[in-house]
């Protein structure tokens, strides 16, 4: 036996050592979290730094004179002839009026300031308003993407190489005169993809993602929950169910590109479904998220206390009633959270969709499950690979949109859990 | 039926409970043997006309009373703290009741001592002492046996004590009859004979108490309350 006095002394001595150990342990933990947080902040800072300009656009506001002569238009009253008119000329003229120092030889340089699609914009407006002919209208056009980039990153050499020195001077002048302005980039959110970065938007990708997610949710949630309930509540415990269980766990670890290959082989080649459509994308992502949903749903069902089942059985509820009235409502928050996390994972998935052709260049905004479409992460992937400088910031901006979607889905998961959770 | 002592006072998961019951048992036996000694001394004082000894008996009765209170207190404490059941419960209940009987035996001893004092002043051996000696031997043996039956948890011995009581009753009747004869022969004898009669009466009561103690021992060992039941039924129960 140890003498009580001595014991107190020994304990007192060892106490210091223990406290030191605890402190050290806590320090490790704080360090780990700091590193994680720091890298996260760096990542976000980088993306926001690169991408925030993607939410801005550069416009040129010109007083355009619709002169039939300059437009090489013989009969301004014939709508078909109007379509064939030269719409570049009035723009150049308008510009050179503002920039008198530009000579005839600089017309090409002036032209390089205006968006290549500005002429078709002018044409469309003129067709819509035939009475404009012969008047002067103040119209706002998008600037050329090179101007856009230069304008938004003033003083940064890397962003000005596409413009000649004269052009740079022109832009500076135009900005001083208020012709070139920077404003919120509504084009980014209202249009689909485009070869011209200034006109490229994420709306097509967002709609595509929503369509794919809808298909995935509608298929994977009921199937996953039903499978989980069957396996957990009704399936007999034997080799077959053990085998199924092991394989579900394995499927969750299968690389997602394999699911893409599967989708390509089964849905497209075997069943002859069209390529690049949200429906097939949803099917492939359903396959991918099912294991996650089944596993999390089973965990949620398992976490329902057996005492509740017993209580229901004790008053004479049948198996079905026990599951429907008690187990399912109690497991629902867990199932929903698991499903939303799975969906978020699917939302960020690129690889399997590349294989089923959702990587195509699609300008139109998809209108249904069988329209060719792309999704947000694929759009990011496409833009990030484009050579134009302006696409880099578009890609970063698209990443921010994607992150916003993911964060809001996670927030929804948390809110749902808080809302539905019941204590027992 | 005999029960193993260890199976009654030992074997509990709680050692303290074992000790409580053992100490209750020891205290009860201590009181029992003390009361028996009181009775022996009172009879001896009577026979020898020893006033000093009789006084001693009268004084010692206070100790017996104190023991009774102590044992009762202990029993109540056990019930409150341990909630005894079955044999333990019967033991505690039986002890509480037997203690009352023992205390009464002590009182009878005190009465005998008082009579001894009164008679010793007369100085001469009176008539009826033969009967007293005879009955007192018998009663002392019964009391001794009853205590032994408790100590050994021996219901057969207890049953024998109960049967003895019948004999004591007979002897008591015979003795009173002969004393009555003395009194009728010579009226001067009446007061002395009455004193002896009281002693006999006290001894007969002691026999009854010994009998009661035996009944409680049987209740304790067999688990059946055999008061007011015919002896034959008790015999069947004990002989099982």
């Amino acid at each position: 036996m140890i003498d009580p006095k001595k014991q107190a002394e020994i304990v007192h001595k060892s106490l210091k050592k223990r406290y030191r150990k605890e402190k050290r342990f806590r320090a490790y933990g704080i360090l780990a979290i700091t590193i994680a947080l720091a890298s996260l902040i760096v990542l976000f800072a980088d993306i926001i730094n690169k991408g925030h300009t993607g939410f801005l656009k550069t416009t040129i506001t010109l007083d355009v004179e619709m002169n039939a002569e300059t437009m090489y238009l013989e009969d301004p009253t014939d709508p078909d002839a109007v379509r064939m008119a030269d719409f570049v000329e009035p723009l150049i003229q308008s510009l050179s009026e503002i920039l008198p120092e530009a000579t005839e030889e600089d017309r090409g340089k002036l032209r390089g300031l205006i968006n290549p699609y500005a002429s078709s914009q002018l044409r469309d407006e003129l067709v819509a308003n035939p009475d404009w002919m012969g008047t002067t209208q103040t119209i706002t056009f998008l600037a050329h993407s090179n101007v856009d980039v230069y304008n938004k990153h003033k003083g940064n050499e890397a962003y000005s190489i596409k413009l000649s020195e004269e052009q740079q001077q022109y832009v500076d002048k135009l900005r001083d005169k208020g012709v070139i302005e920077t404003s919120f980039n509504d084009v980014f959110f209202t249009s689909g993809d485009s070869r011209d970065p200034a006109r490229a938007g994420v709306l097509g990708a967002i709609v595509g993602s929503l369509l794919v997610m809808f298909v995935t949710l509608v298929l994977s949630f009921p199937i996953g929950v039903a499978a989980a309930i069957y396996l957990e509540e009704f399936a007999p415990r034997n080799r077959i169910t053990d085998f199924i269980e092991v394989n579900i766990n394995n499927l969750a670890a299968v690389p997602s590109i394999i699911f893409g290959l599967l989708g390509l082989a089964v849905f497209i080649n075997l069943f002859g479904m069209p390529r690049s459509v949200p429906f097939v994308g949803g099917l492939v992502l359903t396959l991918m998220t099912l294991p996650t949903i089944i596993i999390s749903s089973r965990a949620a069902i398992k976490s329902v206390p057996p005492s509740i089942r017993e209580a229901a059985e004790g008053v004479g509820a049948s198996k079905m009633q026990v599951v429907l009235h008690h187990v399912l409502p109690l497991a629902m928050p867990g199932m929903l959270t698991g499903s939303i996390i799975g969906m978020a994972q699917a939302l960020g998935e690129t690889a399997p969709l590349l294989l089923i052709g959702m990587v195509a260049f699609i300008v139109e905004i998809p209108e249904g499950f069988f329209d060719a479409a792309t999704v947000l992460p694929v759009q990011v992937f496409l833009w990030a690979g484009s050579p134009e400088l302006a696409f880099i910031e578009r890609a970063s901006a698209a990443i921010m949109v994607l992150l916003a979607f993911l964060l809001s889905m996670n927030a929804l998961a948390i809110w749902l859990r808080k809302r539905l959770e019941r204590r027992w | 039926m005999k029960k193993d002592n260890n199976s009654v006072y030992g074997g509990h998961t709680s050692h303290e409970f074992n000790e409580d019951l053992a100490s209750l048992n020891a205290d009860f036996l201590k009181m029992g043997y003390m009361v028996r000694d009181q009775l022996t001394n009172a009879i001896a004082a009577l026979m020898d006309g020893d006033g000093f000894r009789a006084d001693e008996v009268r004084n010692n009765d206070k100790i017996v009373d104190k023991l009774e209170l102590e044992i009762d207190d202990e029993a109540v404490r056990i019930i409150a703290r341990r909630q005894p059941a079955a044999i333990d419960l019967r033991l505690v209940i039986a002890v509480m009741k037997m203690v009352a009987d023992l205390e009464r035996v002590g009182d009878e001893a005190k009465k005998i001592a008082k009579s001894a004092l009164a008679l010793s002043e007369e100085g001469q051996a009176p008539r009826g002492y033969v009967e007293v000696r005879h009955i007192s031997n018998h009663v002392l043996e019964m009391l001794n046996d009853a205590l032994d039956a408790f100590a050994r948890l021996d219901s057969e011995l207890a049953l024998r004590v109960m049967k003895e009581d019948k004999i004591v009753d007979e002897e008591y009747k015979a003795a009173t009859r002969s004393l009555l004869t003395f009194m009728m022969e010579d009226t001067r004898n009446i007061s002395r004979c009455m004193s002896v009669m009281w002693v006999l009466r006290a001894l007969e009561r002691v026999g009854d108490h010994a009998c009661n103690i035996s009944e409680h021992v049987i209740f304790m060992v067999e688990g059946e309350d055999i008061r007011h039941t015919p002896v034959e039924d008790t015999e069947k129960l004990v002989g099982r």
Binding site: P236, R237, N238, P305, S307, I308, R309, E310, A311, A312, E313, G314, V315, G316, A317, S318, Q321, H325, H326, L330, R422, R423, W424 | S7, G11, H12, T13, S14, F17, R82, Q83, P84, A85, A86, I87, D88, L89, R90, E222, G223, E224
Partner: protein, 298 residues
């Protein structure tokens, strides 16, 4: 063909099971006393019983948890099952409304008759049985719903009430019987898990009696409650005993002594002794019962 049967190899005959793997129980008393299988001292049988149980055996896989138990349970009596941990009293209790059905490896043999109907008959619906034989569990386990919904759940699923007012009556009546009406009437629609442990357990009793069962099984109903809540539940049990048959498993011998009219003592799967409670607690016949009751093992 039941799936369970494929899991268990050929059922063994009782004589082959004569040396089952017994869990060691520290019992000083059991060394000297042996239990004879199927032999119960005291008065296990009754005239016109509610439950008539003969030669009941329960197997957990290969292990025999209940060994040849025969017992009658009378009408409107309170019978307590006592015994050391692992003696099978809870297992036996749960056989009476087939709560063991959900355990795959559990098999029940023998004759279990409720009012002359075999409760393990293949055509007997367990839902109907449980409507007649209600159960209250060790830990209060109200559903995470309102107090009202808890009590109304049973009558709802069995279709006992046609109108809302009928259901209201059932709920009020059950809560009154469970002595909970005064405490709960003002918050019938607040969540039941917000009540105290004792109230929750009485709510569970109310829920059990709301379907008007004939028998109420109670598996250590007070083991999670404080003494005052326990006293209330015990009081309730003695009130309920006027209209229900109550079978209660308890670890507290004092509780068995207080609430029951008969007591059954189980030991290692054997039913050792059944008798009037007063008899069992003052002078038990079997040595093992005595050892257990006096706290000599277990």
């Amino acid at each position: 063909m039941n799936m369970n049967d494929t899991l268990i190899s050929e059922p063994l005959e009782p004589q082959e099971m004569s040396t089952p793997v017994n869990r060691p129980v520290e019992d000083a008393g059991a060394q000297s006393a042996k239990v004879e299988e199927g032999k119960t001292v005291g008065k296990p049988f009754a005239d016109d019983p509610k439950f008539k149980l003969r030669n009941v055996e329960v197997f957990y896989g290969q292990e025999r948890a209940i060994k040849n138990v025969s017992l009658d349970i009378g009408r409107n009596e309170v019978i307590a099952f006592i015994g050391p941990s692992g003696c099978g009293k809870s297992t036996f209790l749960r056989c009476l409304n087939r709560m063991n059905d959900s355990i795959d490896i559990c098999r029940v043999k023998g004759q279990l008759m409720l009012d002359d109907e075999d409760i393990y008959h293949s055509k007997k619906d367990v839902v109907e049985l449980r409507a007649r034989v209600g159960m209250v569990f060790q830990k209060p386990n109200p559903f995470p719903k309102s107090i009202y919904d808890n009590v109304a759940y049973g009558p709802r699923i069995h279709g006992l009430a046609n109108r809302k007012s009928e259901l209201d009556d059932i709920v009020e009546d059950s809560l009154r019987k469970a002595g909970l009406w005064n405490e709960a009437k003002d918050r019938l629609h607040s969540i039941a898990t917000g009540m105290s442990g004792g109230q929750q357990q009485r709510l569970c009793i109310a829920r059990a009696i709301a379907v008007s069962p004939e028998v109420v099984l109670m598996d250590e109903p007070c083991s999670a409650l404080d003494p005052i809540a326990t006293a209330k539940v015990e009081e309730l049990i003695s009130e309920l005993s006027e209209s229900y048959t109550i079978i209660i498993v308890t670890h507290s011998m004092q509780q068995a002594a207080r609430v029951s009219s008969r007591t059954a003592y189980f030991h290692l799967g054997h039913l050792v002794e059944v008798n009037e409670t007063s008899k069992v607690f003052t002078s038990p016949e079997h040595e093992l019962t005595e050892s257990y009751i006096t706290g000599r093992f277990g």
